[in-house]
Amino acid sequence: MAANFWTSSHYKQLLDPEEVHVVHPLDKERGITLEDFKLIKLHMSNYIARLAQDVKVRQRVVATAITYMRRVYVRRSMTEYDPRLVAPTCLYLASKAEESTVQARLFVFYIKKLYSDDKYSLYRFDRFEVKEILEMEMKILEALNYYLVVFHPYRALSQLLQDAGMNDATQLTWGLVNDTYKMDLILIHPPHLIALACIYIASVQKDKENTAWFEELRVDMNVVKNIAMEILDFYDGHKLITDERVNSAMNKLAK
């Protein structure tokens, strides 16, 4: 389990994109489109990363938290599971799962503090207290079906970079991997393929000829390239995301 991705619940739970990109009927009723759905998850992923800076937990905890949140919304509606509560609670739960527990009241403190930050001030992020977080923690455990072990691309990344002789690309690829959590890739692809896609992008960007190395890996390069394309598409689309777009999506929820 812990050491072997292929026997893990994470592997068994990987989904097809069509299963992930589905707006829950309850959310549809509120006029939430697939685009809105993705935007809100992106926005909340950023929020988790931002909150994590304050409560001081490592990137892996952030990655686990975002994965939890994205898994929750595969089956649950945002209408019933308010993202503003789900996101911080996922970080709270991930901090326990990843052995770096942070007290709930500290979370509440920082949530309120962050509320004064412009970006997150619109949607009453501050209205939740410890009690709500603890109640939501249980609901999230249930929504996750108690599967809490998550594998991330980071470990594979450093090994692969070493092997490819691309240690100089660590910073770049690490950043790319971080950004993949703004998408749903972690729900769909094995983490080492996500890592490879990031290395692939870095190779292209750095003009490093790596074809032979990739071929030796005996992985399906089509999948790797597709993931890479998706990441690049995401960056393209990301430029077009305006605060207004995010606001309008969030407002449909806020009601």
Binding site: A2, M138, N145, Y146
Partner: protein
């Protein structure tokens, strides 16, 4: 888990004022009674109504005290158990949540016996040693489960007889199940006092490197414990019965080390090169090296000839240097397991007809404690009267107000004491009894297990 759907519907209609007061998930069980009680909660015996009364042990975690939700311990235990699956590891059958009082329940396949009780039965009741076939089969299965855990980077950290369960009557009769996972603390901080609130953990199975203050522990600590358990199966007595030093955090356990040295001889830097790097070896030279025990007398203690393969296996598990200590995988390959009698699937019943079968007692069940009495049906918050358990002073934290907090390994269910004992056990524990408690007697148990997730960093 299996009943995810049932859970959902439950959570959607939290104020289910209709029908019964039970949480929906509880309807699927007939709860027989309490079979154990520990620091982390209570354990109940139940039967699944729909499945030919299949017995289940339901471990109820204490409700969180105000403020911190599901304990990290419970989180880690669930996290681990949800991933692992092996014949010789306890099976998590289900997880349940009662949203009203925020309590959490783990349902396990029920195991009627454990090594603690089996050993005690032989020692105190039938007065005879455990037959060779049973010892060998129990040991082999224990190693088999441990090999699985270790190859998945899970270190149990609190192996001891009460955590090694053995299935009773049924298809899996005589099958060993390693239990009690997940109370690992941050793995960089090994052997933190196994608990803050004065809970006692027996130190008898603790590896010498940990006793000497090693900061990092490895799967070798489990193998040491297996060695101790092996010896105990052979002699019916704990191998190293040290007096625990109380206090926090993690006080130096001189007496435990002394007990080990007395039997195995003093460790030397030649045999164990990294010994000198261990904190307590460094800082407490005088005490530790005060007594010199030259002669190793392990074979005398376990009454085995040094030429006996069982002795060879045991002594390799009790190797001082953790790097030289036998691994579970190596132990499974040992000659001992290839000689007659060969180890078997049903450790309790030898395959050869005619062999005497020992009938072990079943776990006492305290049917006066009903699981429902411990479930708050009102939405948490202040509960002054709603609790059916009398004497409660603190609202939902019911079990804290119950008799005496006998620590027990949650899944490795410690037996309930017979009623008489049970009643007398309350506040008036004598100093002597406390001492016995601390030393892993009778009611002890334990505690926590430490399991370690060191995947992904």
């Amino acid at each position: 888990m299996g009943d995810g759907r049932a859970n959902n519907s439950n959570s959607h209609s939290n104020n289910n004022s209709s029908s019964s007061n039970k949480p929906e998930w509880l309807e699927q069980y007939d709860v027989i009674g309490k079979i154990g009680e520990g620091t982390y909660g209570l354990v109940f015996l139940a039967k699944i109504k729909s499945n030919r009364s299949k017995p289940i042990a339901i471990k109820k975690f204490k409700q969180p005290k105000d403020g911190d939700g599901v304990s990290p311990t419970a989180i880690r235990e669930i996290m681990l158990l949800r991933e692992i699956s092996h014949e010789n590891v306890v099976k998590l059958a289900n997880v349940h949540i009662n949203h009203a009082d925020m309590s959490l329940y783990l349902a396990f396949d029920y195991a009627e016996h454990d090594l603690y009780e089996i050993i005690r039965h032989h020692r105190d009741k039938v007065n005879q040693s455990i037959n060779q076939y049973t010892v060998k089969s129990l040991l082999w299965q224990l190693l088999n489960g441990l090999n699985y855990l270790h190859s998945n980077w899970i270190v149990h950290r609190d192996l001891k007889p009460s955590n090694i369960l053995v299935m009773g009557d049924g298809e899996e009769q005589g099958v060993v199940k390693i239990a009690d996972f997940g109370l690992a603390r941050i793995y960089q901080a090994p052997l933190k006092p196994l608990s803050e609130n004065g809970v006692v953990v027996t130190i008898w199975y603790r590896a010498p490197e940990l006793l000497l203050g090693a900061k990092h522990y490895t799967s070798a600590v489990d193998m040491w414990a297996v060695g101790c358990i092996f010896a105990e199966l052979l002699t019916l007595k704990p191998l190293f019965q040290g007096q625990e030093v109380k206090g926090t955090p993690n006080p130096f356990q001189l007496d435990q080390l002394d007990k080990i040295f007395k039997v195995l001889g003093h460790p030397t830097q030649e045999k164990w090169p990294t010994l000198v790097n261990l904190p307590h070896w460094q800082s407490d030279l005088q005490h530790i090296q005060g007594h010199k025990y030259e002669t190793a007398g392990l074979y005398n203690v376990v009454h085995l000839s040094p030429k006996n393969p069982a002795y060879d296996l045991l002594s390799q598990m009790l190797e001082y240097d953790p790097r030289k200590r036998l691994t579970a995988a190596q132990a499974l390959e040992h000659e001992y397991f290839r000689m007659e009698p060969l180890p078997g699937y049903n450790a309790l019943v030898p395959p050869q007809p005619g062999e005497k079968v020992v009938n072990y007692p079943t776990r006492p069940v305290d049917s006066s404690t009903d699981i429902e009495g411990t479930i708050s049906l009102q939405p948490s918050q202040p509960v002054s009267s709603g609790n059916s358990v009398s004497g409660g002073m603190q609202g939902p934290h019911v079990m804290q107000t119950r008799s005496m907090p006998r620590p027990m390994p949650m899944v490795g269910m410690q037996r309930m004491q017979p009623p008489a004992r049970c009643g007398s056990a309350s506040s008036s524990t004598t100093a002597d009894e406390k001492e016995r408690l601390r030393n892993g007697d009778d009611w002890i148990p334990s505690t926590e297990i430490k399991a370690l997730l060191s995947y992904l960093t």
